[in-house]
Symmetry: C2
Subunit: 524 residues, 2 copies
């Protein structure tokens, strides 16, 4: 399927040029967009003649490095492209498009060479997305090819690159277990939306589904079910590999010292025993920061996790630590005296987080923490990346973090687990991450944003419609030029079209308003 | 599978007695509940030994007549039964349960005789629901039978009947088209929840998907798509028959004179031309009440509809009529003068609705209208059933309608299309339909309630999780004894169990809170 068209006789075919400005690095971002005229809205009737063309683009870049990509694609249209490319210009030249003659090829000046597995797999995947009927036999194909020849095609030149390098979605597999298939399907949808980070909030208070080979009891005792509600090592590898082929990094989060109730089931002496009236009450609080065994455990756990998850980043959590249990425990208080913390529990938290940050940096990981850690930490220079999640003036917090010289990820405005006014997608679109007073250098520290889909009320039954197309609003904000995408009204029909494309590709994206798609969602 | 066990040798088998107090009428209500221990919540681990038994009941009744049903079922448990039966008592006697020995049978005093297609089909369906693994081959079966013999079983006697005879769900197939499969799946879920009326809001402003054989242009021009977004006669028959076997009546709504924009596309001169500055503006308003051709059209349409939909009820809508277009039209105004209505447009509305009510009653249908019609209608005695849908003091309106001697259906508190706080199911549970000052006779006029799932933001992608289990809260309110079901806290774990049962049966019911089900939902 992959041929270099230059010099070939196949001049009728699509010519696709890929100029890659930089080598595709280890962490590549593959973001591909293909818009087929699969959808149409409103109450007008559909005509076959509306099949006016195809836009396609194949976009590459090295993620954690500067990059520029420049893709020229002939064969085109004007239907919804989402997120909006940085630059798009059209001409009226016509090109016929047939699946037989169509292929992706490596550009002559591309640093990627034939045989690149990520590119090759992407080419195959997008070929089917562009020609969905091609495998349906000759009749479908004939109809399609006739339609293609009947219609007018313009040509379009696309220049594209993402505005922010970190475009994440958090899925929470602790409050509800998400089957691996559901995660893979979400990765498909993420790729269609050019999200490039899957933030896997894999464990938390309610359950510990990660099956650790170092500490198998964590899941055998801490998961909802030790066999059916866990992620085996093979499951995790499958998710990482599936994500990689779609240009998505998997960022694991092992949140501590709070949010760890489920950890305690399989690991005794890890959590702090809470006291009441001078004696242990039988309940447990956050991870016990006063015991050396805690850090030995964390070292062994993060050694494993660092090896299992190849991404150079790791999320260490650090949010919402309930101090009352620490405060009640005489051994914790004694430890604080010994350490010279007095009764300042923020210092104890900072001490704990710094230990964990050091452990993971020993394993060559850059750590990300929730904003809480930044807020109580005095020696902020030991932190690298801070994720802002609290409501209120979140840009104030973004500014504070950037002023401290740390990198920022913005999540506050994109808490999509809230059922809220679901159709109010514009709320997630009209977010301006850099609208704070700061220097250019400070603004460049805002590396991106993240949609958070917490699991209190979300599982496989409602994940997809709750996520899509609302997360698509965030996707465009994080990818596209803000000036070109500031109008909700202009974005609306394009987003409606894109939602139909998602449906056509099997993503259960809910409707934005009254209307229809040519291909509706069919549950099996 | 169906045998009369009395006198047979099969004494190990389940004995099921059905005492039907009345003959199963033409409109039968089959409401069957079977609770398998398929679900478990919280963060405790699951053990196979938790498979403690099976509750089952098979409930029958004549819907639009008084009835009493009394089902005795041995083989039991205490896990969630939803909606709660009117009376349930348990003993500790034990009965083994095996699929080979289990069967449903007709009681000797039952008015229903072997061969009753509704009962026979129900028996088959519920046999598979009770023994989901039976078809999976001998291994699954062996495991199951062992579990059954290992465990303790009590016995339970259930006496049950619904509190309200009308327990409806409205689906809107005009704002978004719902594939037939999606409708059938909803009917399954309705039956599990003992809903017995499918209120099919089949057409409205955005589209006219009903394919009329009398007026084929209505859908060929008024549907979103004339081929893919319509309900053929065969589709409609399939829905009605599928519903009937599940004890669900199909109540079609052809809402007029407002909400009819799509009708105008395939039927010229039906809608009122709006005027601006003394000339037609090119836009159209509600159905034109001033033309004799309007009533001729309605007569032919409702003649067809009355034949296609066998239920004795029909919903005629009558809500939200925008008067401005009628007001602008000189011919409408002239007609009003001629009729002696002056400038009282409420009289014109009432005139129109009365004509349509008369047309349908000529075809032996009892009509249901939205509360608007009751509000503006002076000769209320011509009305039969009024559906209360507006917010505010809806019980005030219920009281007014009942005081006027008309039957009432309550929908106001169950507008589940609103995305609102999805997890706030208690809001739909703590509804007290009879909590108004009135005589017993007036209260008896409240025949039931209805969950409305309007389609602005809902289609096949999000219908099920938006409907279930929130609609289950309304289901119990409409079925069960209010005194026994007034506590949200007591209902919560039972509803969580029931939601797991829905999942197990393939219904995409969303979670109520953190936790898990033994069998999670798996998208295919």
């Amino acid at each position: 399927m992959l041929k270099d068209l230059f010099g070939s006789q196949n001049l009728e075919a699509v010519v696709l040029l890929l100029f890659l400005a930089r080598t595709v690095a280890t962490s590549t971002s593959l973001a591909a967009l293909v818009s087929l005229p699969t959808g149409h809205h409103g109450i007008d009737q559909l005509h076959l003649s509306e099949l006016q063309g195809v836009v396609l683009g194949l976009l590459f870049g090295a993620v954690l490095a500067t990059f520029l990509l420049f893709v020229v694609v002939f064969i085109v249209i004007s239907l919804g492209v989402w997120p909006l490319p940085q630059a798009i210009t059209s001409s009226t030249e016509r090109y016929p498009l047939t699946p037989q003659a169509f292929c992706f090829s490596y550009g002559r000046r591309s640093a990627a060479r034939p045989g690149c597995s990520v590119l090759d797999a992407a080419s195959e995947r997008y070929f089917s997305l562009i020609f969905p009927d091609y495998t349906y036999g000759s009749t479908g194909l004939e109809t399609f090819s006739q339609l293609v020849y009947q219609d007018d095609f313009g040509s379009t030149k696309i220049e594209d690159f993402p505005r922010f390098q970190f475009r994440g979605i958090l899925l929470d597999t602790s409050r509800h277990y998400l089957p691996v298939k559901t995660i893979l399907k979400s990765l498909d949808a993420m790729a269609y939306n050019k999200f490039n980070v899957f933030h896997w909030h894999i464990v938390d208070d309610p359950s510990f589904p990660y099956q650790s080979h170092t500490f198998p009891d964590l899941s055998s005792k801490g998961a909802f079910h030790p066999m059916t509600h866990i992620y085996t090592q093979s499951d995790v590898r499958r998710v990482i590999s599936y994500a990689r082929l779609r240009g998505i990094r998997v960022l694991p989060e092992f949140d501590s010292p709070g949010h760890t109730k489920s950890w305690g089931k399989g690991q005794s002496d890890l959590l702090t025993p809470c006291y009441k009236g001078g004696i242990p009450s039988g309940t447990f609080g956050p991870v016990n920061p006063a015991l050396p065994s805690t850090y030995q455990f964390m070292e062994r756990l993060f050694k494993e996790v660092s090896a299992v998850f190849p991404d150079s980043y790791i999320h260490l959590g650090g949010d919402e630590v309930d101090l009352s249990c620490w405060r009640s425990n005489p051994y914790v208080r004694a430890f604080m005296q010994k350490m010279g913390f007095g009764v300042d529990f923020a210092k104890l938290e900072a001490f704990y987080m710094e230990k964990v940050v050091n452990i993971t940096s020993f394993f060559n990981k850059t750590s990300i923490v929730w904003q809480d850690v930044f807020d109580y930490h005095e020696r902020r220079s030991s932190l690298s990346v801070v994720e802002v999640w609290k409501e209120g003036c979140y840009l104030c917090e973004v500014r504070r973090v950037a002023k401290a010289g740390l990198r920022v990820i913005l999540a506050s405005p994109w808490y999509l687990d809230q059922p809220g006014p679901t159709h109010n997608w514009a709320r997630y679109y009209t977010v301006w991450p850099l609208a704070f007073k700061g220097t250019e250098e400070q603004k460049s520290l805002v590396i991106g944003g993240e949609v958070c889909m917490w699991g209190e009320y979300v599982d496989a039954t409602n994940l997809a419609p709750r996520l899509w197309p609302r997360a698509s609003a965030a996707a465009e904000r994080l990818w596209s030029n803000e000036k070109q995408t500031s109008s909700v009204d202009k974005a609306f029909p394009r987003l409606q079209d894109f939602r139909c494309i998602l449906l056509r590709r099997g993503i259960q994206a809910e409707p934005l308003y009254v209307g229809h798609c040519k291909h509706e969602y069919h549950s099996v």
